[in-house]
């Protein structure tokens, strides 16, 4: 039984410096923002003001992050460690939060219920994500994780009159609680064997841990790693922990789904990477095999599951399973040298994925707003949006359809889009690491994936509804606009066009000239030669 004291226990006297304060300023801004929002609500309950404040908070947090991007890594107590990668991930998180804020207004307006908590919860989610991406300790991981999850549960079931609200919320709550129990048990096991809750295994009780990482001989430690990974895999909806994904994606309000698809994925993956890399997981062959297996299963089955799916939100849920499977490739590094390239690949991939997800959900929200029938709640319309309901969109709203096409192409990893460059990163990574099975699964998965991605695109191009139907629709819309003038007015939200155009522009620029983003990401690490990964013979 190990008796020596592990270094840096949770309660230790660490000087809290200004630099540290600065380093976590974005997170602090969000936290401060929450308090501010509460005060605002107490002062005046205004939907627009709160939305504005939330957006402002996220924008300020984003701006505050920028100077931190190329800083050296700064440990903030033992709980957090701010480095470029984390900051970049936080910016992704924050940007997604901003988009969700902007897109939620319409939805909330249609709901007569109270909506103040919505923005609070949203800010909590972002805070949780913000904590996750910079955490360096299981305790902070746990805090961030739960902050994010519990706030999300609240948001998932926010519109309690919704058709699927209770079901979705319950599924998410119970399954997520189960998963976090698994993760916690895993952490407990790891802690019991290492004596440290710190990510890094240096100076812990693990045999031979003075170098980074070691093959695990201890059953409980291995089991702990497995359970921890299972908990994270649940959040990343990797096969075989993916069951909840489509149901929750479908049942949650679309902006919340968007949040889950972006913030939750980015934050979880970032922290998983940090943790696993710090633990030197790449020498634990069992874990590597396990992750490879999970990756392959996710790539193939995620796509297989999406194959004939008609419901768009479910389909995107399945597609996210496959994407997290692809992304898992970067965890399968073979040595320290790979870490930087793995980070670059992961962050580029996540950026592409976030951009694509935001775009496609944005189109989903906008199109359902327009096609809303009287007496139908927007949430319900969105839940039931099928591929078919986008039929002929291209001929009616070319810009929006173009954004959707670009997003789908990006998800499918076809040139002209960021997704292709992202896939290029992954393939480069995988072929250097010699992960032939994963490449094979990626190819097969992409092949299957094309089938449903193309179905979406073809639906956009398909002939619009027959004239009769269209006429009916026009009449109905006329009726609805007569009835509720407010709805009509808000239908022409002026930012809509700006947003869509902006996203199209961003997608094209990053797709055609990815160097803009690549340079930023490659400078985040700055520690080693960015392409050192290529030095190894495959």
């Amino acid at each position: 039984m190990p008796t020596e004291m592990a270094a840096a226990p949770l309660l230790s006297n660490v000087q809290f410096t200004n630099a540290m304060l600065l380093a976590i300023s974005p997170q602090l801004i969000v936290a401060f923002g929450i308090v501010l929002s509460l005060l605002l609500i107490a002062w005046k309950r205004s939907r627009r003001m709160l939305q504005g404040l939330t957006s402002a908070i996220f924008i300020v947090a984003l701006i505050a992050s920028v100077p931190l991007l190329f800083n050296n890594e700064i440990p903030v107590t033992i709980l957090l460690k701010v480095d470029g990668y984390g900051v970049f991930a936080f910016m992704l998180v924050c940007f997604s939060g901003l988009m969700v804020t902007l897109l939620s207004g319409q939805l909330l307006q249609r709901n007569t219920e109270a909506h103040d908590e919505y923005y609070l919860l949203l800010q909590l989610v972002i805070l949780g994500g913000g904590v996750l991406v910079v955490s360096d300790h299981f305790a902070s991981l746990f805090l961030g994780f739960e902050l994010l999850s519990l706030a999300l549960v609240g948001m998932v079931g926010f519109f309690r009159e919704g058709k699927h609200a209770v079901e979705t919320a319950f599924k998410y709550l119970i399954l997520s609680a189960t998963a976090s129990s698994f993760m916690l048990l895993g952490i407990a096991f790891i802690y019991s064997q290492t004596g440290s809750l710190h990510f890094s295994l240096i100076n812990t009780g693990v045999n031979g841990a003075d170098q980074l990482g070691a093959e695990l001989t201890n059953t409980f430690h291995a089991l702990g790693m497995l359970l921890f990974f299972a908990g994270m895999a649940f959040k990343l909806s990797l096969v075989p922990f993916h069951f909840w994904t489509p149901d929750v994606y479908q049942g949650a309000p679309t902006p919340v789904t968007m949040l889950m698809a972006t913030v939750s994925k980015v934050a979880m993956f970032t922290v998983l990477m940090k943790c696993l890399f710090s633990q030197g997981v790449f020498v634990q062959s069992h874990m590597m095999q396990l992750m490879a297996l999970v990756a392959i299963l996710s790539m193939v089955f995620g796509n297989v599951l999406a194959l004939k799916q008609e419901n768009l939100k479910r389909l995107l849920g399945y597609s996210s399973i496959a994407h997290m499977g692809y992304l898992l490739i970067v965890l399968l590094i073979t040595s320290m040298q790979d870490i930087n390239f793995a980070w670059q690949s992961a962050l580029f991939y996540l950026s592409a994925y976030v951009l694509a997800s935001l775009s496609i959900f944005m189109v989903l929200i906008f199109t359902t707003q327009e096609a809303l029938l009287p007496g139908q709640s927007q949430q319900q319309a969105e839940d039931d949006t099928t591929i078919g309901s986008w039929q002929g969109l291209f001929w009616r709203k070319p810009m929006m359809a173009f954004l959707a096409i670009l997003a789908v192409l990006s998800l499918a990893g076809i040139p002209l889009s960021m997704g292709f460059i992202a896939k290029f990163y992954l393939l480069t990574f995988a072929s250097q690491a010699g992960l032939w099975w994963l490449i094979a699964a990626l190819v097969v998965g992409s092949g299957i994936g094309l089938f449903y991605y193309l179905r979406i695109i073809f639906s956009l191009f398909a002939a619009p509804f027959s004239e009769q139907k269209a006429e009916q629709k026009v009449q109905q819309q006329a009726v609805s606009s007569d009835g509720t003038g407010q709805v009509q007015a808000s239908g022409n939200w002026p930012w809509k066009g700006v947003l869509v155009t902006g996203f199209v522009f961003a997608g094209l620029v990053f797709g055609l000239y990815p160097d803009v983003l690549m340079q930023v990401i490659s400078r985040l690490g700055e520690l080693t030669e960015p392409l050192a990964v290529l030095d190894q013979t495959p």
Partner: protein, 617 residues
Amino acid sequence: MSLLAWIPFYPLISFLLLIALGRRLSWGLASTLSIGAIALSAISSGLVISQLASADSGIISVKLWSWFSLGSAEVNFSFYLDSLSAVMISVVSGVGLLIHAYAAAYMKNDENFSRFMAYMNLFIVAMLILVLADNLVLLYLGWEGVGLCSFLLIGFWYQEKENVLAARKAFIVTRVGDTAMAIGLFLLFKSLGELNIAAVNVSASSLWQIGDELPYWIALLLLGGAVGKSAQLPLQTWLPDAMAGPTPVSALIHAATMVTAGVYLIARMQGVFLLSPEVMSYVAWVGALTLLLAGVAALAQKDIKRVLAYSTMSQIGYMMLALGAGAWSAGVFHLMTHAFFKALLFLTAGSVILALHHQQDLFKMGGLLKKLPVESGLFIVGLICLMALPGTSGFFSKEAIIATLWSSPTAGPVLWWGAILGALLTSIYSCRLFFLAFLGASREHDKVHDLHHDHPTVLLRWPLFLLALLSLFGGLISLDFTEVFAVASSVDAAQEPAWLHPLAIATPFIGIAFAWFFFKSYRDNNGEALEMKPGGLNRFCGDGLGFDWLYHSLLVRPYCFLAAINRRDIIDQLIMFNGWYVRLWHDAMSASQNGSLRWYAAGIGLAVVCLAGVTTL
């Protein structure tokens, strides 16, 4: 450009004009154009041949342009005239001219007249290129060109299903031979690096010994091409069906010119063939078997044109036999005389058919001697040439062939007897044809159509007279091939039995006598209906000795069957099976997404247990 180069050019211009202007041309213009073009070709041919006589080398050649090059070997668009090709161009343009003239009259009332003449002109172009080509690729161009024209002309009346099928069959069957020939060219090029005919003949004899393997294969493959085009065994089946085309077509393509292209090819490539005595004897055997088979088949035909078609096959068999036996000149000589008399026969038959309102069934004719005396006379001339009665052109050429057979190293007595038997058959079926059609009393056609009512007499008659003259006296033309053909091994006539020649001369008469008695019912018919005896043997022979059936069940049906069962592409099905398989997985996986929370939780637990198992194992 030299005169030689112009020869195929006139009909080409005419073809283009006819195609471009189409139905806008009146009959007069169209026929003038097409006949005029051929006439120009014929005149130029005559002039060029007279130049040839004065040329020192015995060769006139002209290079039009460099076509392409195979490695270091140039393949040029150039023409080459020696005495062999001189004979060919004179036959093609001469007989072609006469047949064109006749055809213009024959087809006058067809709505697609100018298209018909255009095809005929194109055919002459291709045929002239074939015989004038100085290299095998250009020859192949002509070779395929005549095949295409033959296809077009057989299917000229495209609205009838049989014609369409006959055209298809003719093209595809000859294509089989062409492919063999193409492979022969590949082999030839690989081994000699050259496709120029003269150069090939020279370097073949300098590089190879007699009996080498390479010339054997090359010659065999070229023979494959020849049997396809010349309707010899085993690719003979298309010719009888090809009679579906208009009669002038049968006369021009399927009797006088195109079908003899195989003979020309072998004669042209004699340098290679001489190196392979085995293939020479194959040639002889192919010829002999074909001539017997065709003779037997001709005995059981109902259709006047089919009799003539089998007769053509049989006569080409003689030419092949001659080539195989080394009697090159005799073979080519027979080619020429055959062109005269077979064109005559076909054209006369055409007149008869026209007069009988397109009745071709011999058993429904009869008594035409009285009704169509001129045509009957011309037909008799053709038939006696075909039977090779002494004095006619056919006599000279056929006797020349038979005379060489007995002691030729690549032929021999057996083939001699085959040739005699063939001659016997020839006279028997000729008599049968004549008896059925011209003797006795008319069976169905009491009224004979007045040919000259709407067909110009001059064009319809005069070509026939000219052809009759050529048939009768064409044997007097002497051909000198010493420049072209290597001197055949001298035949030691002393060792041959003395009765050979008398027997050969007597054979046709024996045949006539036999037919006179055997076909008495045909001869003495009084107008009662006649039927061919329905026996199995008759049917068997009538169908060309079962080759059609054989090929149909051995090749056509399996190919169609294969095509039919695999219409949906088994490989595609196999690949698309993956799609099915993935969909199966999709269904299975979708079933696991059953919406039950407890099931999902259990799934997570199971997954953890399984992964733990995987990890620890």
